[in-house]
């Protein structure tokens, strides 16, 4: 009997321990829900999450720190509004974040103070992809950059993605929502019943920060205007020195227009001549004329399917410097061929609002083997003479060149890069890279002129 009593007492103790353990976990869950429901719940929940994350990962988990109280963030020092007649924050910076699941977040600060956040599914599978991904920098709703690549000839790596615009007050919330979405994707997947449960529970408890509807969306190459791969007519009959185009992707823009991105490669003197560049008398310094450059052509259509604009972008860096510079009438800067951290992005844009511009754009596309895009058919059946698209853009459109530094302690707006990363709540579990403009020029009709608004 004594033994049975002892065992019973032992069992009673064990039961108490187990019951207590279950009760502690239940209480932890209830506490988390209650914290979310309190008026100060968000900050408390963030603090609670931060410390749980720190404990669980032994301080190595890249946990996003809680946001401090709004009152304490009000600056006490006077701020500079203008400086030498040029507004501050006019620097265009790009921060590229590669998250653990291979998704890439590109944060661009625009000269109007707005942030442009592009989220792409990268095929690189989480590898450090650096700067790239078809960056299109928009200034005051005018596209001025584009298709920046850290390495010469690096292909633009787009699968699918969305673009969000946010001001300084909204960017933190947007980044939180993106990171929460990543956490949910990791633990519940991006769809299915488990994800539904996760979304519902986090919505009910008020912890979840939902992603807004994207301002722009784009899809991977091969998907054309009406989402039918067959509708994109690309022939193999590109001009000499120009590779046949491949569709990089499409983007539905905020203003209802749709842009199709094409990629082709311009090789050597023949490629330049095919695109209307007079190569006689060109002096190439540092980069050989035998090189090649990747050309990204963006064709924009309005909601009725009419072509409204064609733009071409090339990056001058490394061996592509000579060809890209010659194509866009830029200076063949020997330094660009050798430096690892710098690059120059050329872009020419032409509105197709008159027959002459339309003809130049059609010939330019034909030279790249583009016979149709979606419902649009290229009326140009054969290449005639010099195409002169860049020349037409110089005369009637916009041609720009922007220099970027990709290997510096980038000043992101007025914040040091590292601080900004912390401010945005980007965890250390992501890899970042950044670039910022160091100078910009535009063609004023007769010569290159300093482009103050987009110069650092």
């Amino acid at each position: 009997m004594g033994g049975a009593d002892e065992r019973r007492q032992h069992e009673r103790g064990a039961a108490t321990l187990e019951t207590t353990g279950v009760a502690i976990i239940a209480a932890t869950l209830v506490l988390a829900v209650m914290l979310a429901a309190l008026p100060q719940g968000t900050r408390l929940a963030e603090t609670y999450s931060y410390w749980v994350c720190q404990v669980v990962t032994f301080g190595q988990g890249g946990c996003a720190p809680p946001s401090s109280a709004p009152e304490s963030r009000e600056p006490t020092e006077p701020c500079v509004l203008t400086q030498d007649g040029v507004e501050r924050n006019q620097e265009i910076s790009v921060l590229v974040v590669t998250v653990a699941d291979g998704r890439r977040i590109e944060i661009q600060q625009l000269s109007n103070g707005e942030y442009r956040v592009s989220v792409t599914d990268s095929s690189s599978g989480g590898a450090a992809v650096g700067v790239g991904g078809g960056l299109t920098v928009t200034v005051n709703d005018t596209t001025v950059g584009g298709s920046a690549s850290a390495g010469a000839g690096a292909s633009v790596d787009i699968r699918a993605g969305a673009v969000y615009h946010a001001d300084k007050d909204e960017i933190g919330g947007l980044m939180d929502a993106l990171l929460q979405d990543q956490v949910k994707d990791t633990v519940a997947g991006d769809r299915g019943p488990l994800r539904w449960i996760a979304d519902q529970i986090t919505d009910i408890t008020g912890i979840s920060k939902n992603l807004p509807v994207p301002d722009e969306v784009y899809a991977e190459g091969g998907i054309s205007l009406n989402a039918s791969a067959e509708a994109t007519g690309l022939t193999d009959h590109a001009s000499a020195g120009v590779s046949a185009s491949k569709v990089l992707g499409t983007r539905v823009n905020r203003d209802g227009t749709t842009t199709v991105y094409l990629r082709s490669e311009i090789s050597g003197e023949a490629g330049l001549q095919s695109l209307g560049v007079d190569t006689d008398g060109l002096e190439f310094q540092g980069a050989a004329l035998e090189g090649s450059a990747e050309l990204v052509t963006a064709v924009t259509f309005d909601s009725e399917g009419n072509m409204v604009q064609v733009s071409a972008t090339a990056t001058a860096a490394g061996s592509s410097s000579g060809i890209a510079s010659a194509l866009f009438g830029g200076s063949t800067d020997a330094g660009l061929a050798n430096q690892q951290s710098g690059m120059r992005i050329y872009q020419a844009s032409l509105d197709t609002d008159n027959p002459a511009n339309q003809a130049a754009a059609q010939q330019f596309l034909l030279a790249q083997g583009v016979s149709s895009l979606g419902a649009w058919s290229n009326p140009a059946l054969s290449a005639v003479g010099n195409i002169g698209f860049i020349q037409a853009a110089m005369a009637n459109g916009t041609v720009t060149q922007q220099d970027y530094d990709t290997d510096s302690n980038t000043v992101f707006g007025v914040d040091v890069s590292g601080e900004l990363v912390a401010e945005l709540g980007v965890s250390a579990e992501v890899k970042t890279d950044s670039m910022s403009t160091t100078g910009a020029q535009y063609w004023d009709g007769t010569q290159w002129a300093n482009w103050e608004a987009c110069s650092a």
């Binding site: 065992r7 032992h10 069992e11 064990a14 039961a15 187990e18 019951t19 353990g21 279950v22 976990i25 239940a26 932890t28 869950l29 988390a32 829900v33 979310a36 968000t42 929940a45 963030e46 609670y48 999450s49 931060y50 749980v52 994350c53 669980v56 990962t57 988990g61 890249g62 946990c63 996003a64 809680p66 653990a100 699941d101 939180d176 990171l179 929460q180 990543q182 956490v183 949910k184 994707d185 990791t186 633990v187 519940a188 997947g189 299915g192 019943p193 488990l194 449960i197 996760a198 529970i201 986090t202 408890t205 912890i207 979840s208 709540g425 965890s427 579990e429």
Partner: protein, 136 residues
């Protein structure tokens, strides 16, 4: 341990694991660290599996096949757990991409936890007839 107890254990473990999964998500969502969420989810789920198994096993009589039946209950619970379907139940997805491989890893760990908990639980002594009624 009879069939009823096996079913009872499975019926307790499945929702218990789901609650642990949800708790880990809610507790770490704001921190924005997928790794932390997966680690906490694994920790909480493991604790829940062990504690609930030991709680339920208090009502079982010791005997041959006890651990095997507990493992069977663990298997049943795993099969009906939504998180397990996606290979996102425990820490498997930290080692391999979520899918069949992580499903298998999580299954092994899950069943092992339940079996160990059952083996070490304070179960009742084997049910034997009182001395006057024993044969022989």
């Amino acid at each position: 341990m009879d069939l009823l107890l096996t079913l009872r254990l499975a019926a307790v473990l499945a929702p218990g694991a789901l609650v642990a999964w949800l708790a880990a998500l809610l507790l770490t969502l704001s921190a924005g660290s997928p790794t932390a969420t997966v680690l906490l989810r694994t920790l909480l789920t493991a604790v829940i599996l062990v504690l609930l198994t030991r709680l339920v096993m208090r009502g079982a009589y010791d005997g041959p096949g006890l651990v095997g039946r507990a493992a069977l209950a663990g298997l049943l619970a795993y099969l009906v757990s939504p998180a397990a379907w996606a290979g996102r139940a425990l820490l498997g997805q930290l080692l391999v991409d979520p899918g069949p491989a992580s499903y298998a890893i999580d299954l092994v760990v899950w069943v092992a936890l339940v079996a160990i908990a059952a083996r070490t639980a304070a179960v009742r002594a084997p049910a034997v007839a009182p001395a006057p009624y024993r044969l022989g």
